[in-house]
Point group: C2
Chain length 448, copies 2
């Protein structure tokens, strides 16, 4: 019998997060204060004290509190699959594995951190979390996380998505969260924008400003972020730690790992636990996949920039297309970010990972092939990594190599079927790299 | 550590279906020919020869072909969960377990039979399956099943649902199926109705007529049905066989099993493997849950009736509200059927199961409580069983009994969030039992 699913028992779920900061050959560049350009930390009134500690910790393993472990076990350990049917369809000697996070109640990996952030907020006596969401993936995950921990949740959802994706909003409301279209009348930032432009479609930048203002003006509220930050990436390492156990039990080790990058948390979750092996000389090709329309790692310079349009964050050393850059409207909304997690940028800087950019039409073509063979409709974001995995498997067919390829499949696309319809009806278009817009955005980045 | 998920390895997946017809104390009443009222079988040009054999078999176990086992292992065995968090919220001594079929690529149990029907059709040299679908659950499952087996798939989808639920249609198309709104111009039945009423919203009865006509007029095509028939129910017994192993390993046995009934296949899948125990004297309360608006088992008489509006099926001995009865538009579309699987009717006739009817507002209230504690949004159909499980758990709280309750959670509600929105915004209404309409429909049932 050929094994298809590599499952782990609940006892085998990791009980600690892996903190790659313990193993980096050079430490991360510091965050800089936007005014003074002096090294700084995350603003304390916005984040739980434990999260701020985690953000700068260099301890190798940080224990997951027992109550959180119990909640994570509702969907963890998640399955690792062998893609027998896709391999057959491609007629490749490669062995393709995928780690699937779509089994979580939120349908993606995002719940791995949202529930943790809610937990540590409650530990500080906080009653409520505020956040922004674009397409709604992160907002739903935080709504569910807050529901499990017993916190209120307020989500500022970019108005155009709020109107286009009612199911995401309803999902948040089903879990008891309040979701408003941003710009909203609930904050000064929102009211200012609406008074200038009552029909503003909103943007992630505006929604961040609203959520941060909300959290700053209420003693009972923290702000919550779904990617980019070190502690968020660390919370996702349960994924990669599980993969390591699962592959070991299957008697294989990856020659190639591919994952998509937007903020970087899905990619980090899978690959960070493999970094110590790579540092010890293990040959393993780690590929970060991004859209051609927003090619942060393949085309962006490595410099200090803001994490958000409104310049509310500290300055972060990263590959960036400029914080004012608005990427073309590719369907993978979660990959439309001008920057990238500092940890992933650092690994790229150190030559430990490589990057590849893909066009969305080819990405959806690969995703449909994946669905028809493996039965899972990938979300548009990880579909980018599916494309690269298929490319690499076809290279193996040419060379005759039986490489072991691991795909980070961060979530399903059941809330993104409109994108599939656009592809199936030939309405999907590719966007060339918007060089001039990026150059303009980069010219607005402050010199440090 | 409290165990939350009871998983099985792939080796532990059942390799045979359980056929309850081997153990029935009295055999099923025969199907009758609609004209002669003589005992008859399923019409051979419509169904695979192996399925017709299975329909009337009295062998206790029928082996699952190896290729099918491999496909089923893509999502099977499915998890059995202990609802620790729901128990805590209810403050009940009851132990609540649920078997979750939402992890299948189709999001429900339906794929357990669709892939089997496609397999046996291909064995007969058939290239294509035709079916009808209401809300789209069965149509998606058949589309995916055909995609796995390499068959074409044509789905006639009730026009009003086709327009209201575009995501279901796109899902079918993503898996390569053709989905048309019914009435369509592709069949004589459809053209006839459209010439009389170009704006016809369609109905399941019309869609069945179209799918059957399609299959009858093409040599390369069979017709496929998602519930009711004996072989369909048998294909679902992998679910209950797994539950038995999982509960045995957990050291528990159910005092109560609750599942929803529309056609009856989800309910059958879970409960049939427990019937031999019950026949041997094991005390186990088996509750079939239906909507108050369509109370087949609680209010319908036990008589011969047609399975469809167009009188295309043989006459079936069953509890029925009359084949011309059109149930009120409750959100659980899968439970809006005038009749019920002959096997389930027979078990009710023999006193082996009991029935309960529920109103949808209370059903959604229970479903939201389930979602917020257990993290899974139930489809509106199994939400009916969630209501009964919560009721029984609360009875245990009163009596102090620590009963073991098993819930058949047949699928998730991520394509049904509009129903949740109706509930959350107070727009959901209950429908009283439409006694007069049922009496009128029953008067049209032919006397046998």
């Amino acid at each position: 019998m050929e094994t298809t699913k590599f499952t782990l028992s609940e006892e085998e779920m990791p009980t600690s997060w892996y903190n790659v900061q313990a193993d980096l050959p050079q430490p991360l560049p510091p965050l800089l204060h936007p005014g003074t350009h002096e090294p700084t930390i995350l603003p304390p009134p916005l984040f739980a004290s434990e999260l701020i500690k985690q953000e700068f910790s260099t301890e190798r393993f940080i224990e997951i509190p027992e109550e959180l472990q119990q909640i994570l076990r509702m969907w963890r350990p998640t399955p690792l699959y062998r893609a027998h049917r896709l391999e057959k369809a491609l007629d490749t000697p490669a062995r393709i594995f995928y780690k699937y996070e779509g089994v979580s109640p939120a349908g993606s990996h995002k719940l791995n951190t949202s529930v943790v952030q809610a937990y540590y907020a409650r530990q500080d006596g906080i009653k409520r979390l505020a956040t922004e969401t674009g397409a709604g993936q992160w907002g739903s995950a935080l709504a569910i996380g807050c529901s499990f921990i017993g916190l209120e949740c307020k989500v500022y959802m970019v108005r155009v998505s709020y109107n286009q994706k009612p199911y995401r909003r309803i999902l948040m409301e089903t879990f008891g969260a309040t979701c408003v279209p941003s710009p909203s009348t609930d904050t000064q930032a929102g009211r200012d924008i609406l008074s200038e432009n009552p029909d503003s479609p909103g943007s992630l930048g505006i929604a961040i400003s609203e959520a941060v203002e909300d959290a700053m003006h209420r003693d009972d509220t923290y702000y919550s972020l779904g990617s980019v930050l070190n502690h968020v990436l660390m919370h996702q390492t349960v994924v990669g730690l599980e993969v390591k156990t699962q592959m070991e039990k299957a008697g294989v080790y990856p020659d190639i790992i591919a994952g998509c990058i937007g903020g970087g948390s899905n990619f980090a979750g899978v690959i960070l636990p493999f970094i110590p092996d790579k540092l010890k000389g293990k040959r393993i090709q780690i590929i970060a996949v991004e859209p051609e329309a927003c090619p942060t790692l393949t085309k962006g310079p490595d410099m200090y920039d803001f994490g958000d349009v409104a310049r509310l964050t500290p300055l972060i050393k990263m590959f960036t297309l400029g914080h004012t850059f608005v990427p073309p409207p590719v369907h993978a909304g979660g990959l439309r970010y001008h920057g990238l997690a500092p940890i992933i940028c650092h690994l790229n800087r150190l030559g430990l990972i490589e990057a590849r950019a893909e066009h969305q039409v080819a990405v959806f073509q690969s995703a449909v092939q994946f669905a028809r063979t493996e039965g899972i409709v990938p979300a548009p974001e990880p579909a980018h990594a599916v494309k690269v995995v298929i490319d690499e498997a076809l290279k193996c067919k040419e060379s005759g190599e039986a490489k072991t390829i691991l795909l980070a499949l961060s979530g399903h696309g059941y809330f993104d079927l409109a994108s599939y319809e656009a592809y199936l009806t030939g309405k999907l278009i590719d966007y060339e790299y918007p060089r001039e817009k990026v150059e303009e955005a980069l010219s607005k980045v402050p010199k440090v």
